[in-house]
């Protein structure tokens, strides 16, 4: 239990130190140490709980409850203050309603039977590891990044102390979220993550940043409201139940309505359609924030809660709707990613798409689906973190985040380009991580819903398209370019190398992870479990080995090969792709990717996706209400 408390409290203490640190040097020094400790302890947690069943822990509730109440009050006041200052009335209305519900709950304290406030099962363990590793690494990276960021953006006021305060607090909240068994606690940490992301998105205080921060806040508060309503419902039951471990095993007919409400909260937090816009807007923040939001925190909180409750969605009409929302999000967000040339936007939409897949799995809720969902969470967070951080590095060196400007990155920033390529391969190519999960997803869906299979089939074709064309830009060999990979500090390099190593090694060790952590978790809940066939694992590893070996063939291909210039219809071209144009002008060759705007344009796709997903959400609530009202079971 000490480790759990440590992981929740230590990042918070570190955060306070960040806020009060006398100068940048002290902050950075302490930050490196703190991030490293968080990382190390989460790995240590894994090693000490190797193969152990779920552990429950009691914490003296009164004291903590009061602290939490105070914290909630402060957060509400902060949001009210900000909303009034910026004249944003939707978040104001939402936070007031929520506060009213909480005050009501505080006055009519339900007498819930809740022996344990904290718990650690294998799902929390996996989540903690993700938060610790990707979160910790992102923190380390962020120190170097933020210094360059403020050198390049003089117009932004340097508030790095606030920045790192929030980042560490964010990690603290995430640890709290995955370790809490008490749903009131979960709710508190849920609110903290909402607030943290609000502050981080608005960090630069530009007009756009503030606007996007508030839109993120509004959508997430909408989810929190649903969450609060769910708690209200749970507390008004005959025997109020507040423990996650209890709720999971309750009769679906009784708890479906609150669980669907919490599911709705999960949808907002994991940026599913129609709420996807907040995560896309969040990219105005400095890049480490995006890495944090997309890989270790925030959106992972959303899918965590959905996966947690997914046994209850299994076989219900509401669960089916939930999975359809995930399915169309996967399909449509992948489509939009095709039409984007801004690399961070592509990453954002691909995150949304992959979360959609996880949500779809959670909605299906069978043991195979949950297994696939957990695999997706693991693989996605590593590869996505790597991608965001390497995009951030590249952006600082070449001054652009546009994919078209990354043409020939392999010659200009060879190491970074290879890292990006590995990250991208990790997102969609066999035999890398995400593909294993997509495969598991197909298998899970085919037994439960043919429509979802169709969505995955079409969506996976689309993902191949937008990732590959990005890869193509990176590996295009352009000549006469200078290498601009210097001036990247050691901290950043160390993080990037570690993440690259993890992305690859995760593919090698995932059978082990699955065997010792995911399968026992599934077994605990469903009494049976899914797994990959032994021969398929062998084949995967074989493929991986071949992929990793092939680059060595470059050694064999001797340098004696004659170099020719590309064929340009008989026009003579120079080595740096300049050719004689008309009127004696020398022109430069430039190649631009297809974006297929006519089919996958953002507005076009959203104009279909948003109404459709709103409709599904409405039906989801309708079904759960009908079930609640006893119209059908």
């Amino acid at each position: 239990m000490n480790q759990l408390l440590f992981l929740i409290l230590f990042p918070f203490l570190a955060a306070v130190f960040m806020l009060l640190a006398p100068n940048e040097k002290a902050r950075r020094g302490a930050g490196y140490v703190a991030a490293f400790i968080i990382l190390a302890v989460s790995v240590y947690l894994l090693s000490t709980n190797f193969g152990e069943p779920t552990g429950y822990f009691d914490v003296r509730p009164e004291l903590v409850d009061e602290a939490i109440l105070a914290g909630e009050g402060l957060m509400a006041l902060y949001i009210i203050y900000k909303s009034i200052t910026f004249k944003k009335y939707y978040p104001l209305a939402l936070i007031l309603t929520q506060s009213a519900i909480l005050v009501y709950l505080e006055i009519n304290k339900p007498n819930a039977n809740l022996p344990y406030n904290l718990f650690l099962d294998r799902l929390s363990l996996i989540m903690a590891l993700i938060i610790g590793i990707t979160g910790g690494l992102t923190c380390i990276y962020a120190f170097g990044y933020m210094r360059t960021f403020h050198e390049r953006h003089k117009e932004v006021k340097d508030r790095t102390n606030v920045f790192f305060f929030v980042i560490f607090a964010f990690l603290s909240a995430m640890f709290g979220l995955v370790f809490s068994n008490n749903i009131l606690w979960v709710y508190f940490f849920w609110e903290v993550t909402t607030l943290c992301s609000f502050v981080l998105i608005g960090y630069t205080k530009s007009h756009e940043a503030i606007h996007n921060a508030f839109s993120a806040l509004t959508m997430n508060l909408l989810g929190s409201l649903a969450f609060a309503l769910a708690i209200l419902y749970l507390s008004t039951m005959e025997n109020p139940v507040f423990g996650l471990d209890q709720i999971i095993f309750m009769n679906k007919a009784i708890v479906l309505l609150p669980v669907v409400l919490i599911g709705f909260a999960g949808l907002t937090k994991s940026a599913q359609m129609p709420f996807s816009s907040w995560l896309v807007g969040a990219m105005v923040a400095p890049t480490p924030v995006s890495a944090l939001l997309h890989s270790s925190t925030m959106v992972k909180a959303g899918v965590y809660i959905l996966v947690r409750f997914s046994p209850l969605y299994e076989g219900t009409a509401s669960g089916e709707m939930l999975s359809l929302i995930g399915g169309i999000t996967f399909l449509f967000a992948s489509g939009i990613a095709v039409s984007q040339s801004n690399s961070k936007k592509v990453l954002a939409y691909s995150t949304i798409a992959n979360l959609g897949l996880i949500v779809a799995c959670a909605g299906v809720g069978t043991y195979e689906a949950v297994w696939a969902a957990i695999l997706l969470i693991i693989f996605h967070s590593l590869a996505k973190c790597l991608l965001f951080l390497s995009v951030g590095t590249v952006e600082h060196r070449i001054g652009s985040r546009d994919i078209e400007d990354m043409t020939g990155l392999i010659t200009r920033m060879p190491k970074n380009a290879v890292m990006m390529l590995i990250g991208i391969a990790g997102m969609f190519l066999a035999p890398f991580g995400m593909l294993i999960s997509k495969w598991a997803t197909m298998k899970a869906f085919i037994d439960s819903n043919p429509v979802l299979v169709g969505m995955v089939a079409f969506g996976s074709g689309i993902t191949v398209f937008f990732w590959s064309k990005w890869m193509g830009k990176l590996i295009a060999v352009t000549r006469m370019h200078k290498v601009v990979e210097d001036k990247i500090n050691t901290g950043e390099w160390a993080v990037l190398y570690t993440l690259t190593g993890l992305t690859i090694s995760m593919c090698l060790v995932f059978p082990v992870v699955s065997h010792y952590y995911i399968e026992p978790y599934i077994l605990e809940i469903y009494g049976k479990t899914a797994q990959l066939g032994q021969d398929n694992i062998t084949i995967m590893l074989l493929m991986l080995a071949v992929v990793l070996l092939i680059p060595f063939s470059l050694l064999y291909y001797g340098k004696e090969r004659k170099h020719l210039s590309p064929y340009m219809g008989g026009r003579t071209t120079t080595l740096d792709a300049k050719f004689a144009g008309s009127m004696g002008m020398q022109r430069e060759l430039s190649l631009k990717n297809y974006y297929l705007e006519g089919i996958f344009g953002e507005h076009r796709v959203m104009s279909v996706g948003v109404p459709l997903s709103v409709l599904f959400i409405a039906i989801m609530f309708l079904f759960s209400w009908l079930q609640y009202a006893g119209v059908f079971t």
């Binding site: 004659k562 020719l564 210039s565 064929y567 008989g570 026009r571 003579t572 004689a580």
Partner: protein
């Protein structure tokens, strides 16, 4: 070593300053009636894939670079077939202010196919002759390579 140059000569065709008569005859020899594919000949339209460069028409100031570029992009062994009187000497365009003359002014021509316009039969004959030259060139290449290895 068995040589397969003879059995699969792929061609690329370039038309310089000409009346397009030979140009049309080259295309005619690819059409069903003459069925050049019987000899394994394929019109690739891509120097990187081609073994034989067919040139009709004469060389002028503007296309010197183009012809050289196409030729330089063909991997060895390669052969050049000049087709028609203009490609041989400049023909009726010989006296034009911008005409340099035949193809041999810029490239080493291996086979000359006469005619105005050259007949498809003689074009096919020219290509088949060029395949024999390719074979020879290949032999020379192998010998040189062997010599290099010995050294």
């Amino acid at each position: 070593m068995m040589a397969h140059m003879k059995k699969s000569p792929w061609v690329i065709h370039y038309d310089g300053s000409s009346c397009n008569g030979c140009d049309i005859e080259v295309l005619a020899s690819l059409a069903p009636h003459y069925d050049i594919e019987r000899f394994g000949i394929i019109h690739t339209g891509n120097p990187k894939h081609a073994d034989i460069l067919l040139i009709t028409g004469s060389i002028n100031e503007q296309n010197i670079e183009v012809v050289k570029n196409i030729y330089s992009q063909m991997p060895k062994p390669r052969a050049v077939v000049a087709i028609g009187i203009c490609a041989l000497s400049g023909g009726v365009f010989r006296e034009c202010y911008n005409v340099q003359g035949g193809v041999d002014k810029v490239l080493p021509v291996d086979v000359h196919v006469p005619g105005c316009a050259a007949r498809p039969e003689s074009i096919i004959d020219g290509i088949v002759k060029a395949t024999a030259i390719l074979e020879e060139k290949k032999k020379k290449m192998s010998e040189e390579k062997a010599k290099k290895e010995v050294e």
